[in-house]
């Protein structure tokens, strides 16, 4: 069996590579983009959000602030989040 091309051997790309300070997703302005740092939630909830695409280093753009908070995920899909959840997703603001 052939291992998939040089992926699993790569070192992780931890969000610590990005040096800016992370803020709650709810503090993004409308239209502003950021990269997900981590999610401060129950492990099950974190796993669910990651499976939905809100994984570390994923690019998100804020489409609607408030309740619900709507983000565009790398332009590929939109995810609506209750404000309570969105406030626990930490992001780095893109330059």
């Amino acid at each position: 069996m052939i291992e998939a091309p040089s992926i699993s051997s790569q070192p992780a790309q931890p969000s610590t590579q990005i040096e800016s300070k992370s803020i709650p997703m709810t503090q993004l302005m409308r239209g502003q983009t950021g990269r997900i740092d981590c999610t401060q939630a129950h492990p099950d909830e974190c796993s669910m959000l990651r499976a939905m695409g809100l994984r570390p280093d994923a690019s998100v753009q804020m489409c609607r602030l408030g309740e619900p908070c709507i983000v565009s995920l790398s332009g590929a899909c939109r995810i609506g989040l209750a404000k309570d959840i969105a406030s626990r997703v930490m992001v780095h603001i893109d330059d």
Partner: protein, 687 residues
């Protein structure tokens, strides 16, 4: 190197798959994220042959289709048959196989060979068809990675390739196939592009000769790396101002609510407007069927069983089929537009203070047609306590079976005043919703303590809905309704008919006297037709006999036994029998009352409705006073008078204790509400 099959945009013909009656030797599980067009693809492959089936012991359902798949070129030399009898199993849409969610567990068990939809043999699938979204490749690759780790023959369908092209996304299918170590087909379930190629490849899927990491972080990195190798074109966040504007409008606190009310009003208007015609036809057809069967069968128990038990029971159920079908059709269309996910957030705001989440929106909406599909729709609610609260509350929503009772009682209360009738009718719906919200608030602060889970939902792109998928779903749901609810209600109707028909009673002296009187009138005018007076006396004698038979039947005796319980609400023996009979189905109340007071169950006849309105108790006093009518109306809004709903509650909530709680609580609320209504009207002089 694995083969790759990409199709051309001109290859849009419907795939040719024949129906099979053989024992399937090839099981194919269809797996994928939600909103990737998996079910549309499945419907394209299976068509009308698909049926909905449950996974035993779970609340999850799958669509299953037995089909004849063509033999691939590789196998053609070794198998001379025309095709391979196969079963396609459309698994629930999941984001990951590894999540601790019911849907993910079911998918894992099916892939392990330890679970199969009801009626199928549990075994490890012969092939796995993973459907992914070409416009959201990176996230979708995660579930592909989890799938190929299962070491099952796998084929990957990259769906929505037409949408990806429009977005300027190019996917290198050959490279993707090489990275995954399995066949990859670019396709579009909506246009049919690539489906012939996919069908040809389904029976020749091979175990992938590549592997993927097994931990979540590893799979994410693996997916990103493959994505960077195979995808080119538009990436990153794009300006989508129309979607932004629509999203902001549909989720706005005021505008969102107004849009919701407007859309739902349109939905219900359409359902009530257009369902009325087929309902009338069905009613008429069953009426004729009853008359025809009644005419050819000799009088006796078989005649009565067929006409009053079987045909009346089946007719009473099937009459609601148009509303059920229209509701599911409209909901499927609405879901296809992408609006429902936005509406769920609007409703979330309204329901959250009462302990429910926006996930309860579709179940509660469906419950306004019938609580059974509403409770079944609660399966999609991820949090157990949210789900239980929704199931317990759903029967408070005014279902279509209550409508005949509402119509009867509001007509009796406000004869010739359509505006007041409409207001009372609306009040019934509002009262049901209010009781549901109060119940949720109470349960979430006591037995289902805890905050409801905050929502995180993918918002699908706005699209023109797929009419074919909506029609297939409607057909499927209609069949499920007919098979499950129909058979259940039919059985209950037969039991009720039996209880109401036996033991037989001899004619009373009063009816014998009336008949003798009528006979003497007939004999005094032998050459003429029986006079109106004689006919009237015969009818009166029949009614007396019917009432006497009903009184002395097992159901009648039951009514007499329970009457003291309902006496504080103003119900006499006959009304008590009507209420008890309603446990089969609420609408049975009208026909039961018609049978009791007029000796006829032809409720469409205005004179019969009039005879109910003017019916008297055994002591000769009016049966439907304003106080009694209000009491009955409130009772029917709030009571859990539906045995099939209780059965479904027990099944979906995971035990009879929940069904008993629902029955007990709703009965208590209904009794208290009806008592307050009755005593209040009496107190204020309404008699």
């Amino acid at each position: 190197m694995p083969s790759t099959d990409s199709s051309t945009p001109s290859d849009h013909s419907k795939p040719e798959i024949a129906q099979t009656r053989q024992v399937p030797r090839h099981a194919i599980a269809v797996l994928g994220n939600p909103n990737v067009g998996k079910t549309t693809l499945f419907n394209r492959l299976a068509g009308i042959r698909a049926k909905t089936s449950n996974f035993p012991g779970t609340t999850q359902e799958a669509r299953v289709a037995h089909v004849q798949l063509p033999i691939s070129i590789d196998e053609a030399n070794t198998d001379a048959q025309a095709g391979i009898a196969s079963v396609l199993i459309d698994l629930p849409g999941i984001y990951s196989l590894n999540l601790d969610l019911s849907e993910s567990r079911v998918c894992r068990q099916v892939l392990d060979g330890s679970l199969a939809p009801a009626g199928e043999t549990a075994r490890v699938p012969d092939a796995l068809l993973v459907v992914i979204d070409a416009t959201n490749l990176m996230r979708n690759l995660s579930i592909v990675g989890e799938s190929i780790s299962r070491r099952l023959p796998t084929i990957v369908a990259v769906n929505m390739i037409d949408a990806a092209r429009r977005k300027g996304i190019h996917i290198d299918a050959a490279k993707l196939s090489e990275c995954l170590g399995c066949k990859v087909v670019l396709c579009s379930a909506r246009t049919g592009e690539g489906l012939d190629t996919l069908v040809e490849q389904l029976t020749s899927a091979k175990i992938p000769d590549r592997s993927a990491p097994t931990d979540q972080a590893g799979i994410e990195r693996w997916a990103q790396s493959i994505y960077e190798q195979v995808s080119a074109g538009s990436t990153g966040n794009q300006d989508d101002s129309l979607t932004d504007r629509l999203d902001r409008a549909f989720t706005h606190p005021v505008l969102g609510l107004l849009s919701f009310v407007a859309i739902m009003t349109g939905l219900f208007w359409t359902i009530f407007k257009f369902a009325a015609y087929p309902m009338d036809w069905i009613d008429l057809w069953f009426g004729h069927a009853g008359n025809w069967v009644g005419a050819i069968l000799p009088a006796g128990p078989i005649h009565d069983l067929m006409v009053d038990g079987v045909i009346a029971g089946v007719g009473g159920t099937v009459i609601f089929l148009p509303q059920i079908c229209l509701l599911f059709f409209m909901l499927a269309l609405l879901e296809g537009t992408g609006y429902l996910a936005r509406a769920a957030f609007v409703i979330d705001r309204a329901l959250r203070p009462f302990g429910m989440s926006g996930h309860a929106f579709v179940p509660l909406l469906s419950s306004h047609a019938c609580a059974i599909p509403g409770i079944m729709a609660a399966r999609a609610i991820p949090d157990r306590r949210d789900r239980l609260a929704t199931i317990l509350v759903a029967p408070f929503m005014s279902c279509t079976a209550r409508i005949p009772v509402y119509v009867l009682l509001t007509t009796i209360l406000f004869p010739g005043e359509p505006m007041r009738q409409a207001l009372a009718f609306t009040m019934c719906y509002v009262l049901g919703v209010a009781a549901g919200l109060f119940t949720s608030l109470l349960f979430r602060r006591t037995i289902l303590r805890g905050k409801s889970r905050p929502m995180a939902l993918e918002l699908p792109s706005y699209r023109v809905p797929d009419l074919k998928s909506a029609l297939l779903l409607t057909f499927d749901r209609g069949m499920v309704f007919l098979k499950k609810a129909g058979t259940m209600i039919l059985a209950i109707s037969i039991v009720l008919w039996w209880l109401g028909a036996y033991p037989h009673s001899d004619p009373t002296q009063a009816s014998l006297d009336l008949r003798a009187q009528a006979e003497s009138i007939v004999q005094s005018t032998p050459d003429a037709e029986p006079s109106l007076q004689a006919q009237s006396l015969f009818d009166e004698a029949d009614a007396l006999d019917t009432r006497n038979a009903a009184k002395n039947s097992m159901l009648g005796r039951l009514g007499s036994g329970f009457q003291p319980v309902f006496a504080p609400l103003g119900y006499d023996r006959q009304l008590t029998v009507g209420v008890l009979a309603s446990f089969a189905a609420r609408e049975v109340f009208v026909s039961t009352m018609a049978v009791q007071v007029a000796g006829s169950d032809d409720v469409e006849d205005e004179t019969v409705l009039g005879s109910i309105a003017n019916a008297t108790k055994d002591d000769g006093s009016p049966m439907f006073t304003p106080a009694t009518s209000w009491s009955l109306l409130i009772f029917y809004v709030l009571a859990s008078l539906c045995l099939p709903t209780l059965v479904v509650t027990a099944k979906e909530a995971g035990g009879w204790k929940w069904a008993m709680l629902q029955l007990g609580w709703m009965s208590m609320v209904a009794y208290a509400g009806a008592l307050i209504a009755y005593q209040s009207v009496l107190f204020f002089g309404g008699a």
